[in-house]
Amino acid sequence: MIGTLVVKDIKLFVRNRFFLIVTALGLVLYPIIYFLIPDQVDESLGMAFYIEDRESALYQRLTDEPGDYVLFDTEAEMLTALQETGDYFVGLSLPADLSAAAARGEAVELNAYYAPGVPAEARQIFHDVLVLFANAVNPETLANLTRFNETEFVLGNDLMGAPLSLRDRFVPLFLVFIVMIEIFGLATLLNRDVENGTARALITGPLRLHQFFAGKALMGLILAFGQLLFLSAVMGVLGVSTLLLLTTLLLGSFLMVGTGFFVAALAKDNTSAMAWAIVFIIPMVIPSMTVLLPGLSTGWMEIIPSYYFVDSLHRILNFGAGWADVSRNLAMLLIGGAATLAIGTTAIRRKF
């Protein structure tokens, strides 16, 4: 009987033009966007220099030792390149009397031109480097520089030389987006069955209410998991810790099913189902933004159940996390899904 219900619901889903278009768009557009996003990170920080005194030791040194910088003949050329090429994050114009003024202990006037979009933190770091540089070219302070031996430790995977590309960061985002849309689909299908009386017609036949709920939950799980599986396969991430990834995708789908039931319980009609779905989908998507912009991540985000889905995906796909690393997340996903499903089914029962 449950199988019959699932087939019926999938048929209804496919015949609903809105659901079909939204789902198809997601399954087609997300992979296209995925492959358009750069899969490599340019780690170099290009710098542009204009040094007025071509006889200076600094000019000779920069000419003799090529690096991630380019020397320009005029300040105007440097500024044009800085604005138009996007290859440099800063351009430095060094006056002719730099060394002499530094030697005299006088303040040196420097113009630092930053490319648009360079964050304040980067500017501050560059400023500190400049101070060190100024001291390094001053013979008096050079003698008194504190010297130290540094030992580097990298906590977690050392991403030097293999940083996370924007494409990598987008994978959890796409997976969360595609599954969250199904909250709306499931909630609407469920709500229609209750509001239109078809659920009542079914349960005044041999079908029992728990079977009706089981059918709906299974249909939601198949829809969500199927789409996650498809998208993962297209993006080529299924080979990464396959069993762990599949488990995470399944539990993420389960959380979606629970949330769909919860939304359906709150809804009075199809319009309010859509409104309630949006109310839940927006916060559920927020944790995935922290993968793109890690600075947004804060402790309170852990109260959003989808955080555990996003965090697990991010760790598994981008940092090679294993079962032990994400077991707490998976447990939280299971609890979140079960809790919302239990509350949702209890509330929907009252509508009969």
Partner: protein
């Protein structure tokens, strides 16, 4: 077939919808449950189709207490709701096939059922394109799908044109002839009068009267006959006269009217079910 003793039901909010009602329905009987909105008809039907649990009293259906029935109950009973409740994105055949697949026993072929109510040409049309009347006819035959012994029909002719309404009434009578028992909930007194063997009036959760429509008409109607006739030829205005039914053949005044005047109509003055309902309950059915 169905026995209800001292049935009461109070909703969780405290509303007492049914207050100690008693009735029995014999096998092969069409039993009409009549009353205005909010009288307790739907609550009683919901109890009987086990949508509402936690009732007080004793209900026996098909020889077994209602509480003791398991899920096989729904293999024995068929339910047609007042409002059509179908999957609008599925065709008529798909809707029936879906419900048919849930039953384990013998079932009708959906095509035959659709033909029975004149929907055979619309078998592959999605329900979203059906009129309300077409949906009601489908609603009705869905209840017959698994050949149940007991049918619960809620306002089965609502929204139907006279031809289709008549067709549904004939099918209901045919079900009775086939030995099925029918519990008909309606506020349409004409339908009840035409097809019910017995009717019960329910108001404010209590049954006020149970009898056959014929008996009710005879008990509550006037034993008189009303004649409309033209005293001075067909061009003159029609006049009315009433005569007692008893001794009518010897009533010289009546016989004189018949012999000497063109007669327009002659009607006995038994009460309609609606008249009796208003008389016994003091309420109308709206």
């Amino acid at each position: 077939m169905l026995s209800v003793e001292d049935l009461s039901y109070t909703y969780p909010g405290g509303t007492e919808a049914v207050r100690g009602i008693d009735f029995t329905i014999e096998k092969g009987e069409i039993f009409g449950f009549l009353g205005p909105s909010g009288a307790g008809k739907s609550t009683t039907q919901k109890v009987l189709i086990r949508l509402l649990r936690g009732f007080q009293g004793h209900v026996t259906v098909l020889g077994k207490p209602l509480n003791e029935w398991d899920d096989s109950y729904y293999e024995q009973v068929g339910v047609a709701f007042e409002l059509p409740n179908h999957y609008q994105k599925l065709t008529a055949t798909e809707n029936l096939a879906l419900f048919r697949s849930l039953y384990s026993g013998e079932t009708h072929d959906p095509a035959n059922l659709l033909e029975m109510v004149g929907l055979e040409e619309d078998a592959d049309t999605r329900l979203s394109q059906f009129s309300k009347g077409m949906q009601m006819r489908l609603n009705f035959v869905r209840a017959l799908l698994h050949k149940p012994d007991l049918l619960f029909l809620d306002e089965p002719t609502t929204g139907l044109d006279p031809v289709n309404g008549q067709k549904i009434k004939e099918i209901i009578r045919a079900q009775k002839e086939a030995g099925r028992t029918i519990f008909l909930t309606t506020h349409d007194m004409t339908v009840a009068d035409q097809i019910c063997d017995r009717v019960a009036f329910i108001i404010d959760g209590k049954i006020t009267l149970i009898d056959s429509p014929r008996n009710l008409r005879l008990q509550h109607g006037e034993r008189r006959v009303r004649v409309e006739f033209h005293r001075d030829g067909l061009s003159s205005p029609a006049q009315q006269a009433e005569f007692p039914l008893d001794g009518l053949g010897d009533n010289s005044e009546f016989l004189e009217v018949l012999r000497n005047n063109p007669i327009e109509t002659i009607h006995t003055q038994e009460a309609t079910l609606e008249d009796i309902f208003i008389e016994t309950t003091g309420r109308t059915l709206t």
